[in-house]
């Protein structure tokens, strides 16, 4: 008798669509919020390194000198903590899983060279003049300059010369 307990369900299954799909010919649609892999919009990245410092599996490397953002996909656990700490919101979770790989190598993203100089050219050329003006106007910064001069005054001549040349004073 025991075999008939599931009879209704088993019989009904004959007339229903299969629960499984014919993978890989057919794949299940991925929900929008699926934790697939971390994606980066390199144009917005400022290489601050917050994601590098906050990653719990240590899979992200930010190299300011080489201007690269590197992620080891095999080490990443898609927790999404880097996305929450990113100040520029340039990291996001892509719902597609990272493709399978036969070699263990990290994905390196170059933060485009032209992006930063352009930004510098755009932002820094008009800014220096007002910045200097602000520095002259700002009592806090003026006070800081005075403190710096006083500090240099306390140094011996050789060291003071080095600091002056470094600061081009």
């Amino acid at each position: 008798m025991g075999a008939f307990k599931l009879g209704k369900m088993t019989f009904g299954s004959l007339f229903k669509k299969p629960e499984t799909v014919l993978y890989p010919v057919v794949t299940k649609p991925q929900p929008a919020g699926l934790k697939g892999h971390i994606a980066i919009d390199v144009d917005d990245c400022i290489l601050c390194g917050m994601c590098d410092r906050s990653c719990s599996t240590d899979c992200i490397r930010v190299d300011k000198q080489a201007r690269t953002w590197t992620i080891d996909r095999l080490q990443c656990v898609q927790c999404g903590y880097c996305i929450t700490v990113c100040p520029k919101k340039c990291l996001s979770m892509d719902p597609n899983y990272a493709p399978a790989s036969t070699v263990h190598e990290a994905d390196v993203f170059a933060v485009p060279e032209q992006a930063k100089p352009e930004k510098k050219a755009e932002t820094k050329t008009p800014e220096p003049a007002p910045a200097v003006e602000k520095a002259a106007e700002s009592p806090v910064e003026q006070h800081a300059d005075e403190q710096l001069v006083a500090l240099i005054g306390l140094m011996d001549e050789e060291k003071a010369a080095k600091v002056r040349s470094a600061l081009s004073m």
Binding site: G2, L6, T10, P31, S56, Q78, Y81, T84, P95
Partner: protein
Amino acid sequence: MGKKSVIPFGPQHPVLPEPLHLDLVVEDEVVIEAVPQIGFVHRGLERLVQTKDYNQFIYVAERICGICAFGHSMGYAETVERLMGVEIPKRAEYLRVIWHELSRVHSHILWLGLAADAFGHEALFMHCWRLRERVLDLFEKTTGGRVIFSVVKVGGVQRDIDKDMFDQFISTLEGIKDEYKQICDAFLTDPSVYNRTAGVGLIPTEDALNLSMVGPFARASNVGYDVRTLGNGAYGDLSDFSPIVSQNCDCYARMEVRAAEVPQSIDIIEELIAKIPAGDIAVPVKGSPAVDSEACNVVEQPRGECFYYAKGNGTKYLDRMRMRTPTSQNLAGMAVALEGCDVADVNMIVLTIDPCISCTER
């Protein structure tokens, strides 16, 4: 009088999803004593709390166990929130409990499937896991993960659920109810299952109390203890909640209790969805736990009460994080249940106690 011999059971055994070793002292096919031994999957996760900050550790906590992943992340987050005196929004509490109860549904259905597989009913195993898949789909849609969700954070939750998705929750769970009833019918009224489990692996109420057993295994021995009755978080807003208990104390009772807890969890989810308030899902948490601050917390995991303890040291790294998982309490009860049973019944008894060794060893 036969000759005593020792049969090693595990750590690799078809019935065990996780490595547990039992030395079964056997005489005439009857187990006289069972000596459990663990230590095969120790990962030292609690030590990591000193090298990961309290926000990062949440992703470690949920990897303690695949089945109780949500419960562990919720239990850890609540403990740190108590440590730092953070009060989370009401909506976040509701969302946590909804996901937690959903994980109880998937855990119990998974276990019923494993039990069916253990006593050789493969069709039932397939049907159980087919239903579980629908629950996992809900998780996938709302958290982005099937087993590891990473959706809880200290101060609330990372993702919200909108009304359309809640409607999907209701329709999916209502759809499961009918099929689940048929599955339970096969489990609980089928004579082949009944004969295999009734009167086997008795744990009397006194033993369950003396050995501090927890969860559905204690409730199957007529111990009406359930952490959810304490009313932590959104559990306090439930109109009515009483733990499901059985008085039979055997394998059948343990199966009965777990089977009955699934509709109970579905009812809790539906009630909380109807009551969920609007508002924020998280509050910003700044600073670090104070020096020598301590906090404790209990969460009713699918396998029973899990106790959390955390100690702060003034930095963002906790000084200490301890968990006492339900299986560490229930292993002693399992040794009692195994005494005097037939060798052939060891599988069923071990399975109905459902030891989670990954949780226990961490």
